[in-house]
Symmetry: C2
Subunit: 448 residues, 2 copies
């Protein structure tokens, strides 16, 4: 890792440089970058890339085109269509529609925009002025993208109601209903629920069937942020954690997370045909000429809030074609298996304490308690001390360690800094690696 910014001279100016100088800078860049493809990079919800995915990324980068029209992206439009179609089938919206977006935060914004548009189609023309405050409900464990989206979309972060989660980190449907009733009483207008399938930190899955019942009853759009946990739909063994997802209105799924498609690769899927285009189209005549000689239904660009749109589908298409559903299922199962193994080992190991006894995805959250702290009373001072352990261990990981994982506090649960171990499909983790990580954590933290 690069520590001091002076180590590489990134300055730009009047004059260029030779190819040799440039090559040396590129070598330095690569060497001082974080090796996210390292088997022991567990720091984020992504890691190494699927090699077929990387090949696909390179091909589509070299072909440098925009995904907006069939005219300039005939092959990539068809590949995008094929991937979306397969994903729609898996999630249970065979007649739905979809689009690739530059990341899950944007995909989640698509969900909010469509939810709002379905309830108030005039919002496209007239904006929000004159409407009551619109309210969206999401869990207190949900990703912050709904907050960012609420600001951008003019809804306001105050109108993102945080629904309580149970001990397992799943949205409490009873509390959701209470929140809906309360917002309505306050003369606000509930319009959408954003459930999470695989929360960022704990990896919890909100109960989709009860949530779908409530949304149906109150006429609310149900969007599922499955950016992280959506990949479990690929698994024969574990897809059942997503039960009920065919009943929802829209889904976001990031194949750039668990399955290792190179960044960026995120899709937004919606059950209702035609809505994406009606909501987002602007019918620019310089781009979407209707007097073209080919079938313009493959011109997907006007469904998007973007104009130019990078080809993000082809790399996923390539991985998927190579491996089939079958091969992707095996990779996901292996990631889950390693996570389960990791959890089992540390649940029996002194010094490790699981945040959740049961877990649902490939996140395993735990505190590591150095030897010297193990037999002490857990008063406030003790927790304050423990809070500092993870950052110190993290510093050692980065400076001298062979593994890298993330940590965070969780204020709404009153929890101080804990680690989040997480497995992904690429490079495929092994049980032996899990053992190594556990030992490495002990090595780095035991003397603290």
């Amino acid at each position: 890792m690069l520590h001091k910014q002076e180590e590489i001279d990134f300055s730009l100016g009047q004059n260029g440089c030779t190819d040799e100088e440039l090559l040396s800078l590129v070598r330095h860049t690569i060497r001082r970058s974080v090796d996210t493809g390292h088997p022991h990079f567990y720091n984020q919800l992504y890691g190494g890339t699927d090699p077929y995915g990387l090949a696909g990324a390179w091909v589509s980068e070299a072909c440098n085109t925009n995904q907006y029209t069939f005219e300039v992206a005939p092959t990539f439009s068809l590949a995008e269509h094929a991937v979306l179609q397969r994903a729609l089938e898996l999630f249970g919206f065979p007649n739905g529609d979809g689009i690739f977006a530059p990341g899950g935060s944007m995909s989640n914004m698509y969900g909010l925009v469509l939810a709002r548009y379905r309830m108030y189609p005039d919002v496209k023309l007239d904006g929000l002025a004159g409407l009551p405050p619109l309210v969206v409900f999401t869990s207190e464990d949900a990703h912050y993208s709904t907050l960012k989206g609420a600001h951008w979309l003019g809804i306001g972060t105050r109108n993102v109601v945080k629904v309580k989660t149970d001990a397992a980190g799943c949205m409490d449907p009873k509390h959701l209903e209470q929140c809906i009733i309360k917002a309505t009483r306050e003369k606000k207008k509930p319009f959408a629920v954003v459930a999470t399938a695989g929360t960022t930190v704990l990896g919890s899955f909100d109960p989709l069937n009860p949530l779908a019942d409530i949304c149906q009853k109150h006429g609310l759009w149900l969007h599922v942020d499955a950016c992280w946990g959506g990949s479990l739909i690929l698994s024969r063994k574990h897809a059942s954690v997503l039960e009920g997802i065919d009943r929802v209105d829209s889904v976001s799924w990031n194949p750039h997370k668990m399955v290792g498609a190179p960044l960026q690769c995120s899709m937004f899927l919606v059950k209702h045909e035609g809505l994406l285009h009606r909501s987002n189209s602007a019918s620019a005549t310089y781009l979407f000429q209707q007097d073209k000689f080919y079938d313009v239904t493959y011109d997907s660009g006007d469904k998007s809030v973007q104009c130019g749109r990078k080809v993000d589908a082809y790399k996923l298409w390539l991985m998927w074609r190579k491996r089939g559903d079958e091969g992707l299922s095996r990779l996901v199962d292996n990631a889950v298996d390693c996570a389960q193994y990791f959890a089992k080992i540390i649940s029996e190991r002194p010094g490790f304490e699981l945040v959740l006894p049961e877990f649902q995805c490939t996140n395993i959250c735990f505190w590591f308690i150095p030897s010297s702290m193990r037999d002490q009373t857990r008063d406030e001072a003790w927790w304050d001390k423990l809070a500092k352990v993870a950052p110190l261990m993290k510093e050692r990981m980065v400076l001298q360690g062979a593994v890298m994982l993330g940590y965070q506090p969780m204020a709404h649960r009153g929890m101080v800094n804990f680690f989040r171990m997480v497995t992904t499909c690429q490079p495929p983790p092994t049980r032996a690696q899990m053992d190594f990580v556990i030992e490495e954590i002990e090595r780095l933290g035991d003397d603290l």
Copy 2:
């Protein structure tokens, strides 16, 4: 080009395939894709990629990381910082701030969001409910992204007021002021003007100094959509078309257009330090830990509406470092020179008719009038007939031609389909190529 979707089997299913089958599919994909790097691809505002840019794209794809924190993107964070800094200096905001966004449409949305946030900081928390309708002004020749943005941001497309342009396609400052006064009288709240530097079709530059005067007087944010024409800032000879840009509040610039950075490469630049972070931050504790051991000011992620953010800066950094300001300037000058040469030749050639006598960027818009139509009276039937010439010629271009350029009507000027020829930096065009294009157009259209 691919005509029938059956020609390549993009279907996905249960089983995978062999490497050989995959390779054959990839070869087909490449062969049937549109060769945007072909010297005679003039169809969009992008074309071939700068080879150094492509190398940079491949490196950053292989390093697969997220631009959000220095922790996982130390080198790329510094490269992004260096590119933004150089761009800020060029545009005249040395103390400003910036961020890469997934395309110009998103960059323009950043401008609208910051404009709104500066006027109504409470919008982040409270949303738009209770506020008067906010109004943004842009020219009738402006890109449609302001419309799409207005829908998403809850402003409403009706509240995008289209200001008239003069004969050269430039926003009329007098009409802008009338529109501002009218909106205020209607109890709406003007908050931003989106000027364009290099319009999509005609390539016109709005007069920034008069617009800045008006915005100052009325307290409005002035954003410049320089996605297309912003690259002229690199040119020693032609940067003056952007005069006054140092007076505006924010700028969008797409190096993936004229200068040939691979898609996607777009930046949003803002004069006011700190605003980007205040407006967009959500301070997620799992990602932006403040107890990290390094200088967290390089953690750029919380300035973004995105969470994960692909590395888009490095490819541009690599091109720029290789070529220097000097080298990029020469490439831009060459593109402008070829465009000027093209315009000069066709202005003297029978059958070609320029839409604008003067032009300001590298767009040259023209009608091609087949021999049989040249000496006829230009009544309505004649124009109807001419409207069909461009689509027919386009079909021939795609099916049997050696060049590809775009066409469009322009309803607000009462103009039927005309061609838009456009040069970019990559691959560097030549005058001989311009001659070839002219001859090819005659070959494809003269008998119509």
